[in-house]
């Protein structure tokens, strides 16, 4: 009788492995949790994209909550999310931009043509501030709370679905 139970072991092992692999099908290994969650936005000294004579630092972002959006004109997904960022800005969501390793003239033309949802854009031509933020691609969007602490990092485009399912709540909590 006992031996019969042992015969079930391979089946149980198969089911366990199957559940593990099945769940892995729906998780994206490229989505990394930011190491900066719970830490303040690092400081930087970089020019303003629209006015390069003007130096900016972390205090230029002003009071939270805000979204810190990493973008570039060479990034197709940034183009895809731009309309929705315009929509969010129109709804009163505060967005600051980090123009990442981009041509400043192209970036300014992009904002002039597609609309500018950002209250401020930092020109990070070398990508130094981006390294301090742990940025590994574009677009990335950080949710920063009232105390200037990073609460969440979203990798990939911000769209209606992502906003409604996840980011809207986190943004609201960041403002509390």
């Amino acid at each position: 009788m006992n031996k019969r139970i042992f015969l079930l072991l391979p089946l149980l092992a198969f089911v366990a492995v199957g559940v593990f692999f099945y769940s892995a099908l729906f998780s994206d290994p490229r989505e990394l949790e930011s190491a900066l969650v719970g830490k303040p936005v690092p400081d930087f000294q970089l020019p303003d994209l629209l006015n390069p004579q003007q130096q900016t630092d972390v205090s230029s972002f002003g009071e939270g909550p805000y979204l810190l959006n990493v973008w570039a004109t060479w990034c197709p997904t940034c183009r895809a999310e731009h309309e929705f960022l315009n929509t969010l800005a129109a709804q009163g969501v505060k967005i600051v931009g980090l123009n990442y390793k981009d041509e400043p003239t192209k970036a300014r033309r992009w904002l002039a043509q597609l609309g500018d949802p950002y209250v401020l854009n930092v020109l990070d031509y070398e990508g130094t501030f981006a390294i301090d933020l742990g940025v590994y691609g574009a677009p990335e969007t950080f949710i920063v709370d009232r105390q200037g602490v990073i609460q969440y990092r979203h990798v990939g485009d911000v769209n209606v679905r992502v906003w409604q399912e996840k980011l809207a709540d986190l943004y609201r909590q960041a403002g509390e």
């Binding site: 990394l32 990508g127 742990g134």
Partner: protein, 159 residues
């Protein structure tokens, strides 16, 4: 024939020399110890963009930025641990190919040994079981022998 051979050898030599030159030129070092440390680091730091490659292997823009940063820090005299700490602070444990031992990485570090232990215990149980019945069959106690005799007699008388 010999001119063609010489030409080929010369061509290979030139290509090799140019590529070797390029590899050295990218990150020139005067201090051999620093260069060794740099090579070790870029083969241990994982590219966050193009996963499963070190920043040494990868051609991604970010990998180059991180190599540049590593070069700058090593040139300024940073220790190996300082460079790794710098990267982990920004990109998390993911960025280092030798993850630290902590609760979330226990499965990673000790999982294989756990499976080995299960296998060893399993094999030991199997061996023990194979031996046990043989030993028992050969050695009935006197009481058991008497009972066996009795049962066999009964069986005979029934038939």
């Amino acid at each position: 024939m010999s001119t063609l051979y010489r030409f080929c050898v010369a061509l290979i030599a030139v290509i090799w020399a140019v590529s070797a030159q390029a590899a050295i030129d990218a990150y020139p070092f005067e201090d051999a110890a620093k260069e060794a440390q740099f090579r070790e680091l870029i083969n241990e730091i994982r590219c966050p963009k193009c996963q499963n490659q070190t920043i040494s292997d990868s051609d991604a823009g970010l990998a180059k930025d991180l190599k540049d940063k590593t070069y700058e820090m090593v040139q300024q005299g940073a220790s190996k641990q300082q460079v790794i700490d710098y990267m982990v602070q920004r990109y998390g444990d993911f960025v280092h190919y030798q993850p630290p031992i902590k609760q979330s990485t226990w499965v990673l570090w000790f999982g294989p040994f756990a499976f080995l232990l299960i296998a060893v215990v399993g094999v030991m149980i199997m061996i023990a079981k194979k031996r046990a019945p043989k030993a028992a069959a050969g050695q009935l106690t006197d009481a058991e022998k008497a009972r066996l005799q009795e049962l066999m007699k009964k069986d005979d008388s029934n038939s």
